[in-house]
Symmetry: C2
Subunit: 178 residues, 2 copies
């Protein structure tokens, strides 16, 4: 009789701590003493990444798909909505992506007539990206729904817990210059 194989990978208990099985497996494979494994750091990184991936997928499927926008496209259009006209370089910093990515995404947004690009007057090396009226109207429709999604995602936590998470993650972002 065949025994069902159970594979335990990055599994956490209710407290968010790594399960003992995986601890032992890592220990066996790395041939390193378990004491040198920072299990809390593993849990932080793994869980944060997982949540980010989950919320990105949820938003793209449930909200942004209506306009065929990716998370980054939307985030960039949001920046333009708030800031009106922004240089490519700054857009890259704001969105946390490289400049070639900004080139690609603004090109796509431009094709959809949600923004347009224009060479800078003072410095002709710079390119300024500006949101169009159509872009504004898309955001007026989309943002409330996007925000509702955000609220849903965070609703499992109390307001106090939400503030706690933000403050702690903020600390990590600052310490690592993310």
């Amino acid at each position: 009789m065949k025994v069902k194989e159970v594979v335990t990978i990055h599994s956490f208990d209710e407290e968010g701590a790594l399960l003992p099985e995986e601890k032992e497996t890592i220990n066996r494979l790395t041939k390193l003493p378990m004491e040198s494994l920072d299990l809390d750091a593993i849990a932080v990184v793994t869980n944060v990444y997982r949540m980010a991936q989950g919320l990105k997928n949820k938003m793209e499927r449930e909200v942004l798909a209506d306009y065929g926008l990716s998370w980054t496209s939307f985030s960039m259009l949001y920046d333009l909505w708030i800031g009106d006209s922004i240089e490519t370089k700054k857009l890259a910093e704001l969105a946390g992506v490289t400049k070639p990515t900004v080139s690609n995404i603004t090109k796509t947004l431009e094709r959809k007539e949600l923004c347009y690009r224009k060479t800078g007057d003072r410095d002709r090396r710079a390119t300024y990206v500006t949101i169009t009226e159509k872009g504004r109207s898309v955001m007026e429709d989309l943002y409330p729904r996007f925000h509702q999604g955000e609220a849903e995602i965070a609703s499992g936590l109390s307001v106090a817990e939400q503030k706690q998470v933000s403050a702690l993650i903020r600390k990590v972002i600052k310490a690592n210059d993310f």
Copy 2:
């Protein structure tokens, strides 16, 4: 004289709360009462995503680039390292990506001779992916360095704070089925 333009976009104070300027801008643009904006939810989602993006970039540049592995490739190879042989479907669930992505990534890993694919015996629809010796040896070299990166990233928080973050984020993941 030209006044320098300052654009405030998704900027947070030390506590991780949205700055008042952006609050007002969103309010003006959405024409919705500020009370209906869940600012804490915005902060949670934005900060978590930002941290995830930052840590992904850091790891890919500082650790994974040596073997030309992406975050997902590495995470998948890790799963195979722990689990030895895993179906494509399960790999997708573990990594939180779609099956086509698994197809592509395992194809790349296979080209690098870090894993191989084999059709299932019982169910010939299924494909099992297995790590190779070379894959194991890459992980033995890479994992300690990857783990060091994780530890560095989380080191801005105390152990108690790390446990707190994990537990809270875990809660969100569970509530949203991420």
